[in-house]
């Protein structure tokens, strides 16, 4: 009891401390917001360099450059680099960079771009921060879970460097708004996570003549290059035809080691900084292929701009209007948003809701529950009594289903035989499995609508989601 009392007072003390910190942070945020408004105002009137802190209205012409004393101190380690120096930093401060996507790639890219003093930094994202983002999207803090990623990312950037101008674009990038948003920046960083967005951003960069720093990561691998710059190719020169949708895996399905997009995002920041400061050789006409597991980095030479490219080629006439009318979702056969696909392959009487399934269990109806997810998914969490037969091995393991059915039949029920139910993560593969089972004679098989996600949502809120 005594230890409980001690715990309680310790917790109360901690709450008090946190509340004090919270007030302090809120005050700081409003001070910064006020400062930001002032900076924006100054930017428009063009009187001051991109927001020094506190705003200084005189240019330090004595030094022969436009860096304020505070900037000199803040960026001193950049200025000490002979190959970067005052010129590189001044270029950076005058530049504007847009990062599309504040996720695994965008997080480190934004943090470094904010820290290094890019004058105006734009962030595009329509999503909110979720707990399962935190392992890789290191710009976000736990207290921002449920809040817009742009808001969270902007707050982190400003807490690192309050002297730069951060612009929040809390919307999904579409053909209707892309020209307007991208045209406000010198350099575009593609930190998105899907094929249609990649084509959309690349085409828009070609139309507007902007360099594009493009990164991608999945599983244990990453890729990086600079498109549409110094005679290099655009995304379409390299990939004129979109890949089949089955080849477009997403982190939410295939997984990703958190640090892998982190590394690629850092390299994206580096390439953007090189272009913005006009220092070094940009990664154009070359591509970095990063394999984390085998610790291998390959830098390969890729084709130059393709004369036949439909967007940037010699005879291409891809206009703003054509861009705005282009259907990227249709072109790539995949959605611009990352919402999971919901298939509808079966007749209603071959399907059952998770609630109905729960009732059947409660009544003790004989059944066989087959979970067709991959084995490593099954190991994360599964429904009790389910039999794991991953979809690709279903054909080879039909005899196991027959055997299980027979065992069940011998058991409790003499009347109608046990029924087959199929479950997966979201209710797509289970439909494919049921289609197949029907074909091979298990005509009573039904899939559980919405899969385990549906089960967690409608039946058992304590069932872990992943």
């Amino acid at each position: 009891m005594e230890s409980n009392g001690g715990d309680a007072s310790r917790i109360l003390r901690e709450i008090e401390t946190l509340k004090a910190t919270k007030t302090e942070i809120e005050q700081r945020i409003s001070a910064l917001e006020a400062q930001l408004r002032e900076t924006n105002l100054d930017d428009r009137t063009g009187t001051v360099l991109n927001g020094s802190c506190p705003p200084i209205s005189t240019v330090h012409s004595d030094f022969g450059h436009s860096l304020s004393p505070e900037m000199i101190y803040r960026y001193s380690r950049h200025l000490l680099l002979p190959s970067f120096g005052v010129q590189g930093q001044s270029n950076l401060i005058k530049s504007s960079i847009l990062v599309v996507g504040a996720g695994g790639l965008g997080s480190p890219a934004l943090l470094y771009l904010a820290a290094c003093g890019v004058g105006r930094l734009g962030i595009v994202d329509h999503d909110v921060v979720e707990l399962n983002n935190m392992h890789r999207q290191i710009i976000h803090r736990e207290e921002y879970i449920g809040q817009p990623k742009v808001k969270s990312a902007a707050a982190s950037c400003l807490s690192i460097n309050s002297t730069i101008n951060i612009v929040e674009h809390k919307e999904a990038l579409r053909t209707s708004n892309a020209l307007d948003i991208l045209s406000q920046y010198d350099i575009i960083v593609d930190a998105t996570d899907n094929a249609p967005s990649r084509y959309l951003i690349s085409d828009c960069c070609v139309v507007l003549g902007k360099p594009l720093v493009s990164g991608a990561a999945l599983g244990m691998e990453g890729q990086l290059t600079v498109y549409n710059y110094n005679g290099g190719p655009c995304y379409r020169c390299l990939f004129p035809t979109p890949p089949p949708t089955t080849a477009c895996q997403r982190c939410s399905d295939s997984g990703v080691l958190g640090v892998v997009p982190g590394i690629i995002g850092c390299l994206q920041a580096l390439e953007a900084i090189k272009i913005a400061s006009a220092v070094g050789e940009p990664l154009t006409g070359r591509m970095i292929l990063f394999d984390a597991l085998s610790a291998r980095i390959r830098i390969v030479k890729i084709r130059g701009r393709s004369l036949q490219c439909e967007v940037c080629g010699e005879n291409a006439t891809f206009t703003r209007q054509q861009f705005q009318e282009f259907d990227y979702e249709k072109f790539t056969q995949s959605p611009l948003s990352t919402l999971p696909v919901t298939l509808n392959l079966l007749q209603a009487d071959s399907r059952i809701s998770s609630k109905e399934f729960k009732e059947k269990i409660a009544k003790g109806e004989a059944h066989v529950l087959i979970d067709v997810r991959p084995q490593h998914h099954f190991k994360i969490v599964s429904l009790p009594g389910s039999l794991n037969i991953p979809l690709p091995s279903l054909e080879a393991r039909l005899s196991e289903i027959s055997a299980t059915l027979e065992d069940n039949e011998k058991g409790k029920y003499s009347g109608s035989g046990p029924q087959i139910f199929v479950v997966c993560r979201r209710g797509n593969d289970s439909q494919r499995a049921v289609q197949y089972l029907h074909k091979v004679g298990f005509t009573s098989a039904k899939d559980i609508i919405g899969g385990l996600e549906g089960w967690a949502r409608d039946v058992d809120p304590d069932f872990p989601a992943y």
Binding site: G103, A191, A216, A217, L238, T246, A247, Q249, R298, V300
Partner: protein
């Protein structure tokens, strides 16, 4: 002919999840182009399809070339720069097949 073949970006899943394959492709193993004794990428693709790809060949090839979204690199150089399907291969060449990634 000794060649090193590498599969990445998920293509390794089509060949038993093995990324690097040190293979010996003899010119007699393959159909020769116009009677000349050389191995070109077109022949190598046929050989790979027959010998290395264990599942879903449509995820690797479309028609007689690689499917859209696959970059082919011969000695770290885009095969577009060396003649694509007609690229002539030589002893100890390294050929990389990599599926473009979209995640982030």
């Amino acid at each position: 002919m000794q060649l090193t073949l590498e599969f990445g970006g998920g293509l390794e899943l089509l060949c038993n999840s093995v990324k690097i394959h040190n293979v010996n492709v003899e010119p007699q193993d393959i159909e020769l182009q116009g009677g000349t004794k050389k191995l070109i990428m077109k022949d190598l693709l046929t050989w790979i399809r027959g010998n290395l790809i264990k599942e879903r060949p449509e995820m690797f090839m479309k028609g007689d070339t690689v499917r859209p979204g696959v970059l082919v690199l011969v000695n770290d150089c885009d095969w577009e720069l060396s003649g694509q399907l007609n690229t002539t291969l030589e002893e100890k060449d390294v050929v990389v097949f990599i599926s473009t990634l979209h995640g982030g």
